[in-house]
Symmetry: C2
Subunit: 344 residues, 2 copies
């Protein structure tokens, strides 16, 4: 047998999706956008479109049940999906939830998970409209599809950034990653000595960023109130650097961001230093912040900086200039997208 075997870990998640889907063609005229943005866009009338996004969370890859309360996991699973709808400047309306679960899970554990899902649905005003429940020979798998609506002329794609646009992020970055480091450290301590109580006091902010993130529904409202239509947008699930690359690739542009402009909470910085991690590394390469990264025209600068949730971190350049980071000393370095490769 000389069957060819290519290791999928070489491709990374995005290379893999590209390879697997590149031969697919479009058959239906209502498909306005397929694979390649935060959500698919389906035309439903002259002025309106439906948005569809889906994410799969796998035990042992995306979450560790040793320190993840099931209620938070249910809540977070919904947030991850709603975040993709907001990243299109849309409004999520419905979700479906499928789970594969081993029979070692008692009903009460699943009720906890669904209590978190329900809390998310109630708070974000979305309806659970379907799903599937099946058994699994091993861990828990959660697959959620979010549906949303948007006016066609308000949808924001990844590919709309233009030279001289400003690059903006909501909230602060790196917190979810430092929360994960804290939880992993306590897990190691616990493994070594189960009698030692976990030492997580004073870290509520970071733990919440990791275990119970919020999708930035408010950002969409702020943008509407400010009458700012972003030229491009993406949600920050895999780390700022990786998302900047996606946005620049799709828009066929480069960008320059400034190290000291990247918003990092003091609690994140302090934890990073404690772990011997440069805070900017946590912000650039740590994932799961679920903030929004978007670009606006320069003329929207005053409006954007008037909102304390928004930080201008750089600007869009031409493609040939590449994707660059300017550090505190003014040195320019090409940005590296580490991101996450679940197959490594």
């Amino acid at each position: 047998m000389s069957e060819k075997r290519t290791d999928i870990s070489q491709l990374g998640e995005f290379g893999l999706i590209d390879t697997l889907t590149k031969s697919f063609t479009t058959h239906v005229s209502s498909t306005l956008k397929g694979v390649g943005d935060d959500a698919a866009v389906i035309s439903v009338s002259e002025t309106e479109a439906m948005l569809v996004s889906t994410d799969m969370l796998v035990e042992g890859i995306h979450f560790n049940l040793m320190y993840t309360p099931l209620m938070h996991l249910g809540y977070k699973s919904v947030m991850v999906n709603l975040s993709d709808i907001y990243a299109m400047n849309g409004k999520p309306t419905q979700i479906t939830v499928s789970i594969a679960v081993s029979s070692r899970f008692p009903l009460e554990a699943l009720e906890e998970l669904y209590a978190g899902i329900k809390k998310a649905c109630d708070l974000y005003q979305v309806d659970l409209v379907g799903g599937d429940t099946t058994s699994s020979l091993s861990g828990l798998v959660i697959s959620i599809t979010a549906i949303g609506v948007a006016q066609k002329n308000e949808i924001v794609y990844r590919g709309g950034a233009k030279e001289f646009d400003l690059l903006v992020v909501s909230g602060d970055l790196g917190g979810a990653y430092m929360g994960l480091q804290l939880l992993e450290r306590e897990r190691e301590v616990f493994k070594a000595n189960p009698n030692i109580q976990p030492d997580l006091d004073g870290h509520d902010y970071l733990l919440e960023r990791q275990l119970k993130p919020e999708a930035r529904k408010d950002v969409i409202s702020f943008l509407k109130e400010l009458e700012v239509q972003p030229t491009s947008m993406i949600d920050i699930s895999d780390g700022l650097a990786s998302e900047i690359f996606h946005l620049c690739d799709a828009s066929k542009v480069g960008c320059t961001i400034y190290d000291d402009r990247v918003p990092i909470d003091a609690k994140t910085s302090m934890a990073a230093i404690e772990f011997n991690i440069d805070p900017i590394t946590a912000a650039l390469n740590g994932g799961e912040d679920y903030e929004l990264l978007f670009t606006v025209k320069q003329s929207d600068y005053e409006k954007v900086v008037s909102n304390p949730h928004f930080t201008v971190i750089g600007h869009i350049t031409d493609k040939d200039s590449g994707v660059n980071l300017v550090d505190k000393h003014g040195s320019v370095v090409a940005l590296q997208a580490q991101g996450w490769n679940h197959f490594e």
Copy 2:
């Protein structure tokens, strides 16, 4: 600790879904139908609705890679979902595909899987518009969401059957189940002696029913051509008996079906007899036929019987009469819904 632990296998799949989702309320006016039918129904205009259905297939539970070619698995995964859209009398338009896969899978294996998905998309004219790809610590998990469209006044729900309506099935039943028995038998033989070649000659029909089923797109066209609007409909994924119970429960009716009217192909009967299984048992309790079960008004009888793909197998009664099977000798027995409980 006196934590309550209820075994989920006691509830069965449908009991579990009911328990987990019963407290959810509706927030969005576009949600016309949530959990509880083949697909959710979302209003998109005065006359049109979008249909959404999702299914998860898990290695070791829904398929065995020892005898399931990956191309067929990809194709079947799409069929399972399109079938749910047809069961609402809708037209599927888009799908999303998420997979969790162990890194032991080479790229070439995933390309086979996606070749099957593409074949299904091309043949059924649906677009792949999104998905997620992640690693898995164990087996392959495939989660597909299908989106479809329908005119609101043409959507057929499970709950519309009325007393005296006729119960109709498309195609023939039990074939997929007998195909599975053949494959399982050969797997046992192979395990006992890997040098023996599998003996599957002459069983193409049954193997295809199991490995590469077709969703009944044609049935929806036939119904339109005949100008028959079913009063209720459901797809037969878990076995005829189980689906009859779902339909009667949702419609708050009973029914009587006739043993000798249930359409069973001669190849299915012969294989069943070879396996010491009563063919009617394979048809009633074997799953995965992906035929459609629907009810029509008595006045549509002539139209329905004019189509060789349709078989009238009984009629709807009042709820108190229960769900009954009349055997060849005229004896009436209460039907048992065995169906599938993946948690057992």
